[in-house]
């Protein structure tokens, strides 16, 4: 509705209808739901028989104190998150170092696909809880168990997406290069690599999501520091505003990574796309929480 049209509606409608038409906007729905939710939460909690559910104001105060580094936990929120991110980075690096060669092999050679396929599917479907506990039993408390968990939780996503990407390199462009006698190096650099990019993005996105969950669990059971461990600390201390507050920190970080990091990066990498939407295209790989059949269909060689 243009501004003039809106003004005209205002001028003629009686106040009640004006309010009604305002409420019909989707933005008011959004505001209403936020206000309503927070208000209901704040008002209902004191009526509950338990005092273990925090009110929004308690959570807000907690988060503010954490951000001011005023905390009873042994580490500040900055220290914990930066430690977790370091573990995540090392683990993801290892996952790509192992997963990319394996994925290339599986995409290019059918025997490798037959040889490894079932194990990759099992890896995709494995709950990250299992990786966290196994790594905890193997490596005890320290940095190794979380890092290994991250690698194990992410590596199969990398393998399956890279393999699928190799199978989807457009044949007509390869033929075109072949017809013009373009060399091997230029073909890899300018045809194969760019067409793999969407699949690398998918690998990173899904691998990261799964690895993050695994990391938190590994820190809960097999570490004495890190963001996951601090959540456990608040649980043991019976401070539920700590858990909810940390959950909100997690969500903020997740949104930051998704919108800013991935959004910017894919906008730059896929700047050649004609559409306005330059987010990484979704090549329909195994999804973030992996149901087994989806993983199977993503892994089954399609274009053979």
């Amino acid at each position: 509705m243009s501004a003039v049209a809106a003004l005209r509606t205002f001028a003629v409608s009686p106040p009640a209808r004006r309010v009604h038409s305002l409420l019909r906007h989707t933005r008011s729905a959004r505001i209403l739901s936020w206000v309503g939710f927070v208000a209901a939460w704040q008002l209902v909690v004191p009526l509950l028989p338990t005092d273990l559910v925090p009110t929004p104001s308690e959570v807000a105060v907690f988060m503010w104190n954490e951000l001011r580094m005023d905390t009873v936990a042994p580490h500040t929120v900055y220290e914990s998150f930066s430690l977790s991110f370091q573990r995540l980075a090392v683990g993801l690096f290892l996952a790509f170092a192992i997963g990319v060669p394996l994925g290339l092999l599986m995409g290019m050679r059918r025997w490798a696909d037959w040889f490894l396929h079932d194990f990759v599917v099992v890896g995709l479907a494995m709950p990250s809880l299992v990786w966290a506990l196994v790594a905890g039993m193997w490596f005890g408390f320290g940095d190794l168990a979380p890092v290994v968990t991250v690698t194990l939780a992410a590596v199969t996503f990398v393998v399956i997406n890279v393999a699928e990407g190799v199978r989807n390199v457009p044949k007509e462009l390869l033929d075109m290069g072949g017809a013009y006698g373009v060399g091997r190096y230029a073909t890899i650099r300018h045809v194969i690599f760019p067409s793999l990019m969407p699949f690398f993005f998918a690998a990173l996105r899904y691998g990261l999501a799964n690895a993050w969950k695994g990391l938190v669990l590994a820190e809960v059971w097999a570490s004495t520091e890190g963001a996951g461990w601090v959540i456990k600390f608040w649980y043991d201390a019976h401070r539920s505003q700590g858990i909810v507050g940390y959950a909100l920190f997690f969500i903020i970080v997740a949104i930051f990574i998704e919108r800013i990091v991935f959004g910017r990066l894919s906008g730059w990498v896929f700047r050649w796309r004609p559409s306005d939407d330059r987010r990484a295209p979704e090549p329909e790989p195994a999804d973030r929480d992996e149901p087994i059949p989806a993983a199977v269909s993503a892994a089954t060689p399609g274009r053979r």
């Binding site: 007509e172 290069g177 072949g178 017809a179 013009y180 373009v182 300018h190 700047r271 050649w272």
Partner: protein, 246 residues
């Protein structure tokens, strides 16, 4: 100006249940400043023939020699769809297929881009161009490697009639100016009559049924009686083939 010698060419495809013959004992020779059209209905093995000539596929039997003097000829290829790398700019797409680098090579690419009147799009990505413009980039790319022989696989079949018409004219001018040998595959009889100096007719099953010179003066007006007669004659020949086949 290249020479093509095709001798007893045969191509079979083995599928899960049967063996399909795509090309059966085809022989012909092309040389000099010719514009040769290979015409036939869909599925008669035209594209397969081109793929073998360009080395994308190998023949089951027979020989193909494409020479320029006493060396192997250089080929330029225009595909049915433009087949541009979507992630590289127009000028980079031309540079991608060059065998050498350097300012002269770049200048040459820009010259051919100018020839198809697209120099203003050099820095754009293919996705920002219309289908006709993309196909013109494909044609410029083929000319830009200064090939001895141009292979074209139904390059205008995906375009609307108006764009195709103006591109045909453009192609004809480029062929005359550069003096290249062109082998042009099409299912469109009028297109073949309008452009070529010679027409090779392929029938279903990949048999070569006729090899006809087209001796009409250029420029050919598609609406003129002479062109219309030639077109009708060609279509009649195809019809009589179908009668024999059934």
């Amino acid at each position: 100006m290249a020479t093509i010698k095709v001798q007893d060419l045969r191509k079979e495809f083995v599928t899960d249940t049967s063996t399909v013959v795509a090309i059966e004992n085809v022989s012909f020779e092309v040389g000099g400043h010719e514009f040769v059209s290979v015409v036939g209905p869909s599925g008669c093995g035209k594209s397969t023939l081109l793929n073998i000539l360009s080395g994308i596929e190998s023949a089951t039997r027979g020989t193909v020699d494409i020479t320029e003097g006493d060396r192997k000829a250089k080929l330029g290829y225009v595909f049915q769809s433009a087949r541009l790398l979507p992630w590289r700019s127009v000028i980079d797409n031309l540079l991608f297929v060059q065998s050498s680098r350097g300012p002269q090579v770049r200048a040459r690419c820009e010259r051919y881009l100018d020839m198809v009147q697209l120099s203003h799009t050099a820095k754009q990505y293919p996705g920002q161009l219309s289908g006709g413009m993309q196909q013109r980039v494909g044609i410029a790319r083929a000319f830009s490697i200064e090939p001895d022989l141009l292979l074209m696989d139904e390059p205008f079949s995906h375009l609307d009639a108006i764009t195709a018409r103006s591109l045909r004219r453009e192609l004809h001018v480029m062929w005359q100016e550069t003096g290249k040998t062109v082998l042009f595959v099409t299912h469109d009889v009028s297109e073949a009559v309008e452009l070529s100096t010679r027409i090779i007719m392929l029938a279903k099953g990949g048999r070569l049924v006729a090899d006809l010179p087209v001796e009409l003066p250029f420029p050919r007006d598609p609406a003129s009686d002479a062109v219309a007669l030639a077109r009708a004659d060609l279509l009649r020949r195809f019809e009589s083939l179908d009668l024999l086949a059934t």
